[in-house]
Symmetry: C3
């Protein structure tokens, strides 16, 4: 298995991991677990589809943003461990969807993130997950996703 090759086959280019603008680190390792900071869909320095799903943006735009969170996450993980083939499994995703009150399909938005991890990593990409709505995310991001990842 060569994960970088699989990512390329899917037509995805990982950005270089960039340092957080705030007082924290993108990934913290303890033992064989990586705790990955909440990722937002920042693309070339701009938030993709800012706003609330069900209000300023659609379900489909929310899904696109969820995938962008995962792409940034993989970049952050690669920045920490150097080689994505060292991933043993994705253990847990926690996803926050900026939501209009009354929009109840956060799980469908976040499925796009889970599906992308499965498409790239296969079975080791399948994870436990929590998806909830919130009334506001930093920088008006539509989605924020953090993860716990087991690595070798």
């Amino acid at each position: 298995m060569n994960i970088e090759k699989r990512i390329e086959e899917l037509g995805i280019t990982l950005p270089l991991s960039s340092p957080p603008k705030a007082m924290y680190i993108p990934v913290c390792r303890t033992g064989n677990l990586l705790f990955v900071a909440g990722q937002i869909p920042s693309v070339n320095g701009e938030i993709l589809h800012p706003g609330h799903v069900g209000e300023e943006i659609t379900l489909e735009e929310g899904q696109e943003a969820a995938r962008a969170c995962i792409i940034n996450m993989l970049s952050a993980i690669r920045g920490e461990i150097g080689d994505l083939d060292k991933v043993v499994r994705f253990v847990k995703l926690q996803a926050f969807v900026s939501s209009k009150t009354g929009f109840t399909q956060q799980h469908i938005v976040v499925n796009a993130a889970s599906q992308l991890l499965y498409d790239i990593f296969g079975e080791p990409g399948r994870h436990a997950r929590t998806a909830v709505g919130v009334n506001q995310l930093p920088m008006d991001a539509p989605v924020e996703i953090e993860a716990i990842v087991e690595v070798r």
Copy 2:
């Protein structure tokens, strides 16, 4: 200690664990820790007490929903490890309460979940916990609860 017997004594029947409808798994194990996906109060395929606590539903209905989340969680855990006597301790609950803005008793709602774990497991059921309000949960669930559990 026989946990299944204790659950029966409390008059609770665990449902069979059902596969998530979305692209994730209900429980992911790494080492001796189980990360349990966010559980909603789905009972026979319907959300118990949909809506926001303090608005469409009462504090007491929220508590009932919180207990239903725990029952579904125990079912998911049993589906993974086969026997609830293998639980060493509940380490952490994270609970999200769909809340009317201005409703400030999320901790009282979630106490019902914590109390049920204590009633079933005794001291090993006592856990660290975070309870917050959110403006919307998937499928209009009133409560969503995830857990980290140490097992043998």
Copy 3:
């Protein structure tokens, strides 16, 4: 390194850790990891700056509250391990900011917490982090912060 001395130099007095009023424990240890329950800015039994950031309270008041959460957290950790010099590293913070919809600087609020950990612990105080907004927190707290901490 003597963390208690450093805390004193910063002019901070840790309160005695107090038992939670609800059915949970402030810290749960599994292996070398502490899972610390969500901390609110309770000071002498009163919530510091209740309300929503961007509405009843300012960004700066939110930051003050975030620091108060960390002070309570250190008290809880000390209550568990006895000596803060046993902290190996802060692994992860999860921060919830009670937010007016439209307030998008949750990360700036939470930076105050991260900065204080860095000021006290130095590099081991640097952590992965997720910061999100929510529409309501228990007891109208403006901020709630939980942590995962590696200890020896």
